[in-house]
Amino acid sequence: MKNRRAGPHWRRTFLCSFALLFLSLGQAAASPQQKSIKEELFVLPGEVGKRGGRLVFALRGEPKTLNPLIAADTRSREVIGIMQADLVHINRATQLTEPALAKSWKISPDGLQYTIVLRHGLKFSDGQPLDADDVLFTFRVYLDENVHAPQRDLLIISGKPITVRKLDARTVVFRLPKTYGVGERLFDGLAILPRHLLEKPYQEGKVSQIGTLATAANQWAGLGPFRLKEYVAGQRLVLERNPYYWKTDVNGNRLPYADELVFLFVPNADAQVLKFQSGETDAIAQLSAENFSVLSRQLRGYTMVDAGPGLEYNFLFFNLNDLGEKTSPELTRKQKWFREVRFRQAVSAAVDREAIVRLVYQGRGTPLWGLVAPGNRRWGNEELAHPPRSLERARALLKDAGFSWGNGPNGESSLLDSEGKPVEFSILTSSTNADRAKMATLIQDDLKQLGMRVQVVPLEFRSLLDRVTQTKEYDACVMGIASYDADPNSDINVWLSSGGTHLWNPSQEHPATAWEAEIDRLISEQMIARTFAQRKKLYDRAQEILAENQPMIFLASPDILAGAKNSLGNFQPAVLEPYVLWNVEQLHLKNAPENAPR
C-alpha cells in the first residue's frame, strides 16, 4: 500500500507539459500538445495574472460542511466546489465540457462505456498522489446506499447503478446501464475523494460524520485550487492556495494566483452589498436588481456587470393533484377551473410579464414563456410562441370555457364559473423571497381585471414546501427554480410526471393526462438519443406541449448581476453557478503586494 503511494518520482517543475489548451471565453479552440514529462498540467489561456494576495468574498450564511457526501445547501456546495475537483468539468463560460482531472475520455460506439484517462502526476492538496483507486473508491462511496450521498441519484440510471472498473493506475472504465443523453456532463461536480483520508471512516461507517467545518487543516484534502486553512465559527472560512494544483497559465505559472481565499459569513444579501460597497470584499454575485442599481449609481473603485439572462425560471402553477377521497369540496370546485386548460391559458394571457420584468427586475430580466431559461443558449426553443398580454384574449378564452361575469359586493365586475360561483383563489409565495412576492402581487392585480378575486398568502418557505409537496392543500403557487446546468436534463424531474419536482402534480404513478404522457415519452426518448440535434428536437416538442397546456405559467427570468473591484483581474461572471468564482484559480489582484507572505 505504502509502496504504491510512493509511486513515480515527482519533480516539481512549472511548465512541464501541455494537456489540452482551451479558451475559457466563448469560443472553444483546442490545440493539444504532448510532452513526455511526468506532470500533465492543464494550461489555462487568458490574461496572465499577478501572484499573491488575498481574495475576499462574502457568503450569504455559513457553509455547513466540507464533506461533499452530505452537503445539501448551496453555500457548502460553493465552498466544496473550490476545494474539490471533478473528472470532467463544464466550463461555466462556454457551457461545454472540458477535461479536468481526466486528461481525456473515450465513449464506446454504443454510448454505454466511458473510458477515462487521468492526468499524470496528480496530487491531492496534502501532497498524496491520486490514482484510479481513488476514483473507484469515490464512486463506491457515492453509490453506497448507507451513505445517502445526494450524488447517488445521479448515478442511478433507470434504476440501475453505473459500474466502474479500473484498467490501469490511470485508466478507469465507467459502464452505463443504458445510454444517457447527457453524456460526460454527468461527471461535472462529482468530486473525487481522497481515499487515504476517507477509507478508514468509510469502513467504520462514519464517512458522513467527518469533514465538519471544525476539521483540522491537515485532516482534509481535495483537488481544487484552494485548501483548508482556518475556520472561525460564525465569521469566516480561510482557504489557502493548493501548491499541487493541476492548472497553469500560459506562462507556466502554477495556478491559483491568490495566496488566500477568504469567505466572510454574512446573514443576508444586504449585508453582502454593504461589505462590497465598503470595499471589504473583492467581488459580489447574485445581486438583486435593486442592489445592482444602488451599487451602479456610485462606482467607488468597482465595476458592475450584467452577465445577461441566467438559468432561473419563475412560474405560477395551480394545484392539479388528484387527491381522490381526501380532496376538500372547496378544492374540488376550484380544481374544476384549474383543470380547464382554457382557464390556465386565460391566466397566462392576462399576466403582464413585461411589468414583472420592469417592476421586479428593473428591466434586468427576460419575460418567459417556456421552461428552458433564456440563459441556456443552446437549448431554448426559438419557435416557441411569445403571445403578448391580452385581456381580450383572456376574456374570450374564459367565456369559451363557460365562465361569465357578474357584479361583486362592491359593484366591481366578478368572474363566475358555470355554476354561478365567484372565482376566488389564493396564491402562495415564499415570504423570504421578495421578488416572487412582488410577482404574486402583480399577478393578483392582473387577474383582478379579469374579475378573479385572488389573495396572496406569503408563507415561510418550509411551510410552503410542506403544503405544495406534502399535504397538497393549496390553490396556486408562485415559485422559481434555478437549473444548475445548461443541459435541460438537470430539470428532468420537473418534466417527468413521475418526478418529485413536477410541482403541479408530483410523483405520479401513471401520467394523469395524455399530454403529460406525451412529454414523458419525449423526455425518455431524448435520454437515449445520441446526438444534440435529435435531443434538441425532442425537447423543442416537449416545450411546445408544455406551452399549449400551461401547467406552469412561466413569468420571467432574472439576469445574473455581479460586480468586482477594478483591481480584480480575470473577472468574468458566468450565468452558471458559481457565477463569479468559477474561474477562481485565475482571479488575481492587480495590486497584490510583491513577495506577499505565504
Binding site: 444586504d270 452589498v273 454593504l274 438583486s288 435593486e290 442592489n291 442599481s293 444602488v294 449609481r297 372547496e330 403582464d352 411589468a355 420592469r358 417592476l359 428593473q362 428591466g363 362592491n410 359593484g411 389564493s426 402562495l428 415564499s430 415570504s431 423570504t432 421578495a434 412576492a437 412582488k438 404574486a440 402581487t441 402583480l442 393578483q444 392585480d445 389573495q455 396572496v456 398568502v457 406569503p458 408563507l459 415561510e460 411551510s463 410542506d466 403544503r467 392543500e473 393549496y474 390553490d475
Partner: protein, 351 residues
C-alpha cells in the same frame, strides 16, 4: 386645574389624528391598492401656488413628473404640464366609517395623479396607503395591547395579592411564557389556518395571539406593585376593619397598578404597531396589497430602498406624532391619576 391642560392637549391631538385615520377614505385621494405600473417610485410632488412664469394661482397645483428615457426610476419635472388640485372631487368608491358608501374625496386631480408622498414599487400612492394603513395598524395595536394588559393585570394581581403557592405557580407559568419559542407557534398557526381564512383576518388573529401570550411581562410588573401595595399601612388598616379581598383589590390595590399599566399601554400600542414590521419579515404581517404601517415601514428594511428613495421615510415620520401622542397621553394620565403627588410638588421642592 392647570395640570389638566397637557392631558386635554394630548387627547385632542390623538383624537384628531385618529379621526383622520378613521375617515381615511375621505382624506385619501386614491384607492390604496390601485397600481400605476408606469410610475414606480415616483418622488413626492410638491404643491405650488406660483408657476414657472411667476404667476400666482389661487388653486394649488403640482407639476407632472415624466420618466426619463431609458431609466427605471428617474423622473423629471415637466413644468409645461401643471396638474391643478381639485377639492371635494369624486373618485374611487369607499365606505366612510365602514358603512357609508361615498365617492367624495378631500382632493383629487384630473389628468395626472397628485402623489403628495410619492409612490411605492408598484406605483401606488403612498399618501393614501399611509392613511388607510393606519386603520389596520392602530386596530392591531389596540387589540394586541388590550389582550396583553387585561390578562397581565388579572394574573399579576392574583399572584401578588394571594401570594403563596398561587403566586409561585402563576409566576412559574409566566416564566414559561416568557421563555417559549413563540415564533414557532406563529409559523404553525399560519400554516395550519386554512387558506380560505383571508390573510387580513389571519393577521388579526396572529396579533391577538401575540397579545395574549405577551401577558407575562406586565403581569410581573403588576405583581411587584401589588406585593408592595398590600403591605401599605392603609391596606393593612382596611383589612383590619374587615374589608373583603375583592374590595381591597378594587378599592386600594388595583388603583396602585394604574401607573404601571398606563406606562405599559403607552409603550405596548406603538410596540404592537411596530411588531408588525418583524412579523411581515417572517411573512406573518399584513399581506399585500392591503396597506399597513408595518408594511410601509418594512419597505425600509431593504438597503436599496433605504438609500435610493428618501420619500419612503415620510410615512415613518408621519407616524411619529401618533407614537409621541400615546407616550404623552400616558405620562399626563400618570400625573393626573396620582394627584397627591402633584399637589405636594411645589416648584423648587428637592431642587
Amino acid at each position: 386645574m392647570t395640570m389638566r391642560r397637557p392631558l386635554a392637549k394630548w387627547l385632542v391631538i390623538l383624537g384628531v389624528l385618529h379621526a383622520i385615520v378613521v375617515c381615511a377614505g375621505f382624506f385619501a385621494p386614491y384607492d390604496p391598492i390601485e397600481q400605476d405600473r408606469k410610475n414606480p417610485y415616483l418622488p413626492p410632488m410638491p404643491l405650488h401656488l406660483l408657476d414657472a412664469q411667476g404667476h400666482l394661482h389661487l388653486r394649488p397645483f403640482a407639476y407632472a413628473l415624466k420618466l426619463r428615457e431609458g431609466t427605471f426610476d428617474q423622473y423629471e419635472q415637466d413644468t409645461s404640464q401643471s396638474v391643478p388640485m381639485k377639492f371635494f372631487r369624486s373618485g374611487a368608491g369607499y365606505r366612510l366609517l365602514g358603512f357609508l358608501p361615498s365617492r367624495i374625496h378631500l382632493f383629487g386631480s384630473e389628468d395626472a395623479r397628485i402623489c403628495l408622498l410619492g409612490t411605492d414599487a408598484y406605483g401606488r400612492d403612498q399618501f393614501s396607503r399611509l392613511l388607510y394603513g393606519g386603520q389596520i395598524s392602530l386596530l392591531a395595536g389596540l387589540l394586541g395591547a388590550g389582550c396583553t394588559l387585561s390578562i397581565g393585570l388579572c394574573v399579576g394581581a392574583a399572584a401578588g395579592y394571594f401570594g403563596g403557592w398561587r403566586d409561585d405557580a402563576l409566576m412559574r407559568v409566566a416564566e414559561l411564557f416568557l421563555a417559549l419559542p413563540w415564533l414557532y407557534l406563529l409559523f404553525a398557526l399560519r400554516a395550519f389556518l386554512p387558506l380560505s381564512v383571508s390573510p387580513l383576518k389571519a393577521f388579526f388573529l396572529i396579533v391577538a395571539v401575540i397579545g395574549a401570550v405577551g401577558w407575562a411581562r406586565p403581569a410581573r410588573l403588576v405583581r411587584g406593585v401589588v406585593l408592595s401595595a398590600k403591605e401599605r399601612d392603609f391596606v393593612r388598616a382596611a383589612r383590619g376593619f374587615g374589608a373583603t379581598d375583592s374590595y381591597l383589590l378594587r378599592r386600594h390595590i388595583l388603583p396602585e397598578t394604574s401607573s404601571v399599566l398606563l406606562t405599559q399601554a403607552a409603550i405596548l400600542i406603538p410596540q404592537y404597531v411596530l411588531a408588525e414590521m418583524t412579523l411581515s419579515f417572517l411573512g406573518l404581517g399584513v399581506p399585500e396589497p392591503a396597506p399597513s404601517w408595518g408594511n410601509l415601514l418594512s419597505n425600509l428594511q431593504q438597503y436599496s430602498v433605504l438609500v435610493s428613495y428618501w420619500w419612503m421615510y415620510l410615512p415613518a415620520l408621519a407616524m411619529v406624532p401618533f407614537f409621541l401622542g400615546y407616550l404623552g397621553l400616558a405620562s399626563s394620565l400618570q400625573e393626573r391619576l396620582e394627584p397627591y403627588k402633584i399637589e405636594r410638588r411645589s416648584p423648587g421642592s428637592l431642587a
